[in-house]
Amino acid sequence: MTIHAGTSDHLLARGGSWVGTSVRRREDPRLLTGTGRFVDDISLPGMVHAQFVRSTIAAGKILSIDLGAAQSIKGVRAAWDADDLALGNMVATLDRPLTEFVPTEMPILASDTVRFVGEPLAIVVATDQYLAEDALEAVTVRYEPGVAVTTIDEALATGAPLVHEQAAHNTLVDVSLFDSAGTDEAFASAAVVVSVHSKTGRQNALPMETRGALAYWDDRDEQLVLYTCSQVPHLVRTVTARSLGLDERKVRVIVPDMGGGFGIKCVVGREEIAVAAAALRLRRPVKWTEDRREALTASFLAREQRYDVRAAFDETGRLLAIDADVVCDMGAYSCYPFTAAIEPLMASSELPGVYKLPDYRVRGRAIASNKAPSAPYRGVSRPQYVMVVERLMERAARELNIDPVEIRRRNLITVFPYTGVNNITYDPGSYLESLNLCEETLRREGWFDLRDREAGRHIGIGFSCFNERTGYGSAAFAARKMDVVPGFDVSDITMDMDGTVVVTTGTLSHGQSHETTMAQIVADRLGLDIEQVKIHQGDTDRILYGYGSFASRSITIGGSAVALAAVKLGDKLRDMAAHLLDTHIDNVQLDKGRVRRVDDPSVSLSYRQLADIAYAKAHLLPKGLEPGLRASASFDVDNDGTFSNATHGAVVEVFEGTGDVKILRYFCVEDCGVAINPTVVEGQARGGIAQGIAGALFEEVTYDSTGQPLVASFIDYRVPTACEIPDIGIAHLETPCLFTESGAKGAGEGGTIGAPAAILNAVNDALRHTGVELDDTPIPLHAVAAALSRVRTDEKADDD
């Protein structure tokens, strides 16, 4: 099999531009033929292997850790606990009063108190992974067990044991962001008030590549080199340097190829810092590769939330007010840098979504529990609150006897910019158009007819409408009052002597194909073939502080920085050429690898000629121009960001006996502004939808009442496979962003956001004759089976 990388023989679909073209992913040849380089692929001379002694109880005190027996095993090079390593703790903070946010420390290794099963207590290092696991078995830890807090109800109960002493009622975050004056009046005067009480399961984002780190000290560079699979290499550098007491220049973080991140790798982990500390002490390369059991029990989790929400509607189905109480179970620790507020703040500020909402009251809380901590996971709260709001719409439609699609139409924001009751200004989107197209498509394909015709089958159709804020700049993150405010990003571009360019970006791909899409942006700006553009990413020594890739920021912010840097380089080329061609800069323009006079297009200099002068014949450079060809740029967003939007439609069939849910059709109409590479966008949508379906129907991390995880392998954590995920239809609408350089909006998370609501609504539609409504995810199949069996029993009783 020959795999061709994207080359210049691709058709340039959009008037000679690379942007908008489905160029083949340039990463794929190496990734598909096994020549990619992931952390675990790297092996260094003298390298040793680390493993972590982890707590076997969910709550309690550590009385002693005996590492002696482990240390005496032949081949074991070290076994250290927190006292041995004396590492600084991580503390993620928000600039909010203690009544709203309680900061808590996360030690690198727990030394006194343990807060979840799987928490790291000590690191052992051995010459191979087998011996490292033998060493783990030889370690004896004595505990004084405490009482574990494992549910939201337990955490909030009076007299509950405290996961962190300073957090009364186990409440880490308690914010009431909005309470508009008319809320109570709206409920009092409403034609109908509907409510939803919903719980969503704890999930693991499950990147195919588990976490991992490889660290060594480089004497010559006086640097600790840390290879790790992180979405935020610079933040890892900062925290590692602080924790180890090193100058920041003495830590270099390199992220090679990554097999997914989905958010859980945009926080700083404890293990990579402990591995770095071990490498410093041993003066040897130390590698740790998280195994799947650790990934499922001791990594970062997400999504366990409880919603108690009411909504008021007038008789025409117009939404008047929402009153929401959101509680997020964030597990044992606040993640760095986002804190435990990540989920409740997202839910509180963004819940109104695509709908015009006159009045809004919301309380958002984060509680601590004795479970593995939560981190952002693709969508962050949006899959949950969208599901709740979409259930409210369905319920109101039923109460008011309005078609469920029609009631959405009546409430969608259609005039932009729109500033909501949540003080967010929404830029233009295609909310109504996407809903109409999605409904029309399913109708045209005959799904409504099938549902209404097949009386003996249980077929349902469900929709979800949503928007998602992407391109969070410093201003938007500062509104969260984070101590570390991500937002801007940076790019450097260099043209070499042969006229080809190297671009470095502070964002990095963990599967999203930035090496292709960023190159498309640069190629357009400079009139190059994308093969002449190489993208570098994921190395803290190669670029000024960048914030990496999360929150659908890469193309919007990183892509804009890259575009601006390319334009600056182009300006420099024009400046040089203008001098050399004896004309004014306004009289020259870039044209397919040359700088050409506007007034006489037959006169031009090629990039290669210009670069040759810039480097090899600097004496020919006009006065005032520096040798070399390079430029840097940064980009930030000073408004509320840009909102992508979509409507998802699902057709499902549910089955008696098993309660099984089969997805007959899934259709997504999405709008992420200008799609730099439509194939990449579709890949993002499909992957996201698969994760959304996983949350709706399959995956849940569960614990017993003592906090022991019940999910430790793929036998229990039911990630759906290709057998369970249907073919997904996708249509694109394009409402360009007005302030990103390419008109792109973020496309990384939408799929995940829309799917749970669409599936849940479809399942409820399929159960419409049963009188049962389900609001929790993952949807319990036994509840589906019970609903269907109740109807069957009732029918039988009627027959008798």
């Binding site: 992974q129 490292a132 008696e656 399959f698 496979t721 369970e724 036994h782 509840a783 089976a785 019970a786």
Partner: protein, 291 residues
């Protein structure tokens, strides 16, 4: 997820394998396809001191259709599903068809019938087929060969009548089962079944004269349902109503322990009922028995 240290031995014949087992004692384990054992070793849930690798013994990979059907212990699930499919066409299609439920394709290409039966997972398709079809398990040891009836073979969760120095060499199915079917349910394709049900009907002139139903997943071992025998005796043509009545009786007599399955016993009862009905109707539909 790396196994504890173990000694590795490779056997080239059954005699050599059982001698090794005898010599190494109770801490030795046979490895064939390794599809369950290796995972358990990686979790350190199983930590045999020695492994005796029998996968190189060539003459245990066969399906022989003589007076009875005999399947060599090292025959893979995929062999049965594909390579020997035609051998099964005469009365044993239920066995070949059941293989689609065994894990995923890569598992089926390595896992073996002998390994599956020796492992004795309560939901395993081979264990269910063995009790449903009254198979004989042929085992070898340094003392020679013996045959254990499937009904006497499974003791409990992962425990069997095998002695530490015995090795399964073949499984014999004594009679054809032209009207039999196996079905099961798991939310994800390829997972261990929540419940598996299999039915085997004796049919004369289009009427069910007797039959058996076996269930996996409802008890620590696969069970044959006594209730089914009674309700299928001279029961006439198989109809949805007959299947339902039979399932009613089976489910009524089942005793579930307090189960951790979400939905509890109520869900398991409904699911079992549904699968029994499906298995009975499919078994009848294999030839023209359906009314």
């Amino acid at each position: 997820m790396k196994p504890a240290a173990f000694q590795y031995h490779r056997a080239h014949s059954v005699a050599q394998a059982v001698d090794l087992l005898s010599e190494l004692g109770e801490d030795a384990k046979i490895i064939a396809g390794g599809q369950s054992l290796v995972a358990m070793m990686n979790f350190r849930l199983a930590r045999p001191a020695s492994l005796v690798d029998v996968s190189g013994i060539a003459d245990l990979r066969y399906v022989d259709r003589g007076q009875t059907l005999t399947i060599g212990a090292l025959t893979t699930h995929h062999d049965v599903e594909r390579r020997f499919k035609s051998v099964l066409s005469d009365g044993y299609t239920v066995i070949g068809d059941a293989m689609q439920w065994v894990g995923h394709l890569p598992i089926r290409t390595r896992g073996t019938i002998g390994g599956s039966i020796a492992h004795a997972d309560a939901t395993a398709e081979w264990c269910l087929l063995a009790v449903l079809l009254d198979a004989d398990i042929v085992v070898a040891s340094p003392r020679g060969e013996r045959t254990i009836a499937a009904s006497d073979f499974f003791f409990g969760l992962y425990t069997t009548a095998l002695e530490y120095d015995e090795m399964i060499i073949a499984v014999r199915f004594p009679r054809p089962a032209p009207h039999a079917a196996l079905t099961e349910y798991a939310q994800r394709h390829g997972d261990f079944a929540v419940v598996a049900a299999a039915a085997d009907l004796d049919v004369a002139d289009g009427e069910v004269v007797s039959g058996r139903v076996a269930l996996g997943g409802v008890a620590p071992v696969p069970i044959v349902c006594d209730a089914a025998r009674a309700s299928l005796e001279f029961a006439g043509p198989m109809t949805p109503d007959l299947a339902k009545r039979c399932a009613d009786r089976i489910v009524a007599e089942l005793e579930f322990d307090e189960v951790a399955t979400p939905g509890g016993t109520e869900y398991l009862r409904g699911l079992t009922h549904h699968l029994v009905v499906t298995a009975l109707l499919r078994a009848a539909a294999t030839e023209s028995v359906a009314a």
